[in-house]
């Protein structure tokens, strides 16, 4: 397993790379690390968009207390 690809995956996983992946090529490891990175970003974007939309749906009376919990 290439050290570079391993380093990138380790960064995306926020810790250690679990064992048993030694058979994967550098390209495969890098590819998966990229997929994971995209998935995380997409989730964050979708969550932010969902929160905005939820606030729109909420009755005005509830918006302020909910916003306070969400954003302090």
């Amino acid at each position: 397993m290439s050290q570079d690809a391993r380093r990138i995956l380790k960064r995306e996983l926020g810790g250690n790379v679990p064992g048993g992946l030694e058979e994967l090529t550098e390209a495969e490891l890098s590819g998966f690390a990229a997929t994971l990175g995209v998935a995380k970003r997409r989730q964050s974007e979708e969550l932010e968009a969902a929160v905005d939309e939820a606030l729109e749906i909420l009755p005005r009376l509830l918006r302020r207390p909910v916003r306070k919990i969400l954003f302090g």
Binding site: P18, G20, E23, V38, E46, L47, A54, I57, L62
Partner: protein
Amino acid sequence: MKGYLSPAVEVRRLARLVGAQAEDLAYFERLEGQAIRDLRDQVAVVMFDADRQLLQRVAAATKLIPVKLGAVIGERAFGPLLCARITGLLDPSRAVEIAQHLSVTFLADLCLHLDPRRASRVIGEMPPATVAAIASELVAGEEYITMGGFVGHLSKAALLAALNAVDDESLLRTAYVIEAKQNIGALVALLPDERLDDIIATASSADLWIEALDVLGHVTERQRGALGDLAAGQDDEVLDSMVRAALRNDLWSEVLPVVRAMSPKSRKRFAALKSIQARPVLATIIGAAAQDSLWAELLVLLPLLPITARRQVATLATAFNRETLERVISAAYEEELWPALIAFATELDKGPRREIAKLIDQSDTDVLQSLLSAVHDTGLEADLVAMIRELPATGQRHLGTRIAAAPPELVDALTAAADEAGLRPFSEALHS
């Protein structure tokens, strides 16, 4: 097969977690299933941690919102994936209340993204009727892997409701991919015999023996026997289809333990099947026994086979080396299957029979005493002597001397058998 995780199934789970197509991650299938699962576990944590703070705040804010409105916002704004991430952070009873106002389609979609381990309490509190409705929806989408992840988290009542909502074929496909295989026994215990009978028939008609035999590999020994008995009660065609599947997919290592766990009557029925008596079938059975050390399983089956099949096995066994025969003897000792071993040895050619006699002569005292005790209890002295006959005179004397210290009635019985067979060196040594 115990503890086995299918790489293909694990890849599908991993792909769903990162929003990828399983085909795009097919290269993971080269790895051990456990390695993929370990990675998935870590990825699940990362995906959750990436937005942990905001997810927790959303969950907290949910408390301020009426349940019905929470469902509307969940379905319209957050969608199934984000709702799945939030579910485990909600108070379980509130989560269940909100779920009551969500459509079944949405809940089923949510389940596709839910990590059951993070939402176990919510799942455990879900009403049986809702679980049954979701199960039907997941079956319609052939989402067996998702369903398999929930077993072990559902209440007994909900599991029963789900079992009733799922057809036999889907149930087999789901059981095959259950994440916590240790729960299969409990699941099988909930099914009445009539349903189990139908499921076995379905394994045959839908050619799902791989799935059915995997289930049999994860239940208790008692359940394995009971299910084996149910299978043995089916028509020949059902059992023949299992034999064909075992041959085609190399499943004898799964079949043999089932045959062993069956009642003697069922085992006899299985042994009488014409489909297992063909030489290629017997050869693969013996190959599986050798590969996975299933000699005990084979020994209980062999005496029940018709004579022609036993002869075929005896011919195949001429290829057994000393190491293999040692394992056969060990199995006979450990599982107290000496009569079956002696019956097997009686039908072998001289070569392997002599090798077995030599191994017995060289065996530990405990092994020899166990053999002699079984021989005496079952009156197999003449058969043992027939095996000892293959030893050279020195071997016969050596073994006779070792046996001489056995209880007198056993020594007398063996002497009588040896005298009748004209084995003088052995007979004389018995009284040395």
